[in-house]
Amino acid sequence: MKINPVYKKELKISVRTVKMAFIIFFYNLLLAIIGLFAFYLSFEESAMYGGIDYSNMLSIYTTIAVLEICLVLFIVPGFTSSSITGERERQTLEILLTTKLKPIEIVLGKLGSSISSLLLLVFSSLPILAISFAVGGIRFIDLLQLMLLAIVIAVFIGSIGIFFSTIARKTTSATVFTYGTVIALILGTAAIVFAAYLLISFKMGKQYASVGVYNPPDVGNLILILLVNPIVTMIAMITDQFGNYSEFSKILSEYGKGNSTIIENWFAVSVILQLVLSAVFILGAAKFLNPLRKRRRGNSKE
């Protein structure tokens, strides 16, 4: 099987650097410190009050899972936003584009190598995640689901990073746009739902004052905007794993009564949507990278 040459080259360059070894070391160190600290608190504090509440053990898994997803959200933009701009700044992009490589192969090679580096981080943290197994309550399938989510989020955020790396001229701009988009996905979508909720509440309050009938505020299908919010996807997954999914859907429905089928299958729909959006960003990046695409206005000169 022919391996994507860009993927192979990028992986070779990144894996043999000291930087990569340091990233793996500090990533696992951070996870281990936090995991062990949570482990210590759960056992020691509970013992002080006359017994161990084993349900607290789940908080160790939650802590590590949240940390893992947050690190993915934080690290992937850094890996991917410089991928194409880096080639452009190094002045190697034009050479790649005059070779037999198709723009989509360059984009996939770059994304693949970034995801692979991240997978290395995620899999290297498996022993630390296994702390949760020490007591029980977490199944191996739950851990696999967490890994799957980490990969999906990495692909989603990574494709956004590659897209901006393709359209921006400088790495700095690409990085700013990518982190800006990540923040917009996490905080922006929540802020939109909350703002809409407040507006509707205000309207309902006025209606109650004049008519005397109170209808609870409902943002409706606008709640579905949260499907692209990786943190909400993670919450959906963890609550489902702990058997508290009804709590999650209850909180969502307090804000808006969106499509019930989607709300019931939030994790699956969210993962599929994020993968579809990833494909759109990847194809968009490949299109922008094609030097022979039709432009409305020329922007380079001799």
């Binding site: 022919k2 040459p5 192979k8 080259k9 070779k12 360059i13 650097t17 190094r90 002045q91 190697t92 992009l93 034009e94 050479i95 584009l97 005059t98 070779t99 037999k100 490589l101 198709k102 030097p291 022979l292 695409r293 039709k294 432009r295 206005r297 020329g298 922007n299 380079s300 000169k301 001799e302």
Partner: protein, 311 residues
């Protein structure tokens, strides 16, 4: 091998190529000469499939470069005017990476890489990081890289710029070898005498148009007639001046001590006739020669003429 027909390219209101025509036959080394901003790089990028022209036709080895971009890439080897190399790869890894793009893997790729590195005298640097190579070596590595897929047309944008004389000489020798191997080469440069030494044909581009094209001999002939004729007199140079003023082929008459410099647009026979007139009129001529010129002076004259016509 290469046919550019009436190619136009504008960047907003700026015209980069204004109906450019180039024809290069197989096995030629075509020198592409022009001042900065003349449109050389734009033309080379269009030929390499890196830029879309506004109009016109581009054919490389029978392939429509604008429609069959993927086939075009197998026919060309492009070396830009900068060193596009990965500093954190070793020389052999760099070659193997580009080899793998063309489906060459394993021993075959290694063998070919070494052969090409040998061709550009870099085989002893195979295990070195690209970062440690000199500018000239990086340029030679770029050249070796561009040959990996055995392209029919090599496009070199200012390959000698920034190189020291030795590196330039080496580059010139390598290109001569490549021509012997049957490669067609399109090379742009500002170092005109060097182009003259290695090119079979030369094209002068200015403001996006080809203003002169032909074999090196043709260009040199044009250069000859463009150079001033210097006539030295021992006696009666006032009469010489009168004769020259009456001659319609003589222009730009300048008197320097006992000699007169003129732009004479005649051929060798007309030069002989002028000399004979001097002798018949009793003008004593001690020397009658064309001034030593260079490709640069011709280039300056051509582009200056274009400038005058433009304004």
């Amino acid at each position: 091998m290469l046919d550019l027909e009436n190619v136009h390219k504008n960047y907003g209101k700026v015209t980069a190529l204004d109906g450019l025509n180039i024809t290069i036959s197989k096995g030629e080394i075509f020198g592409f000469v022009g001042p900065n901003g003349a449109g050389k790089t734009t033309a080379m990028k269009i030929i390499s499939g890196l830029l879309l022209p506004d109009s016109g036709r581009v054919k490389v080895a029978g392939v429509d470069a604008l429609k069959e971009n993927h086939v075009l890439k197998e026919k060309i080897g492009y070396i830009p005017d900068f060193f596009g190399v990965y500093d954190n790869l070793k020389v052999n890894e760099y070659m193997e990476f580009f080899g793998s793009i063309y489906g060459m893997e394993g021993e075959k790729a290694k063998k070919l890489s070494l052969e090409l590195l040998e061709l550009v005298n870099l085989s002893d640097k195979a295990e070195q990081y690209v970062d440690h190579l000199s500018r000239g070596m990086k340029q030679k590595l770029c050249l070796a890289r561009s040959l990996l897929h055995n392209p029919e047309l090599l496009i070199l944008d200012e390959p000698a710029s920034g190189l020291d004389p030795r590196a330039r000489y080496e580059m010139k020798e390598i290109l001569k070898n490549l021509r012997q191997l049957g490669k067609t080469i399109l090379i742009s440069s500002h170092i005109l005498p060097e182009l003259a030494q290695m090119c079979t044909n030369i094209g002068v581009i200015d403001k996006g148009k080809m203003v002169m094209t032909g074999t090196v001999d043709h260009i040199f002939h044009e250069m000859e007639s463009a150079n001033p004729l210097v006539i030295r007199f021992t006696r009666n140079h006032e009469r010489a001046l009168e004769i020259l003023k009456e001659n319609p082929l003589a222009d730009n008459i300048a008197i320097r001590n006992k000699s007169i410099s003129i732009t004479f647009k005649g051929n060798e026979e007309e030069e002989a006739r002028l000399l004979s007139t001097f002798i018949q009129e009793g003008v004593m001529v001690s020397s009658f020669t064309r001034e030593e010129g260079s490709l640069e002076s011709l280039f300056m004259q051509i582009t200056a003429k274009e400038e005058a016509e433009f304004t």
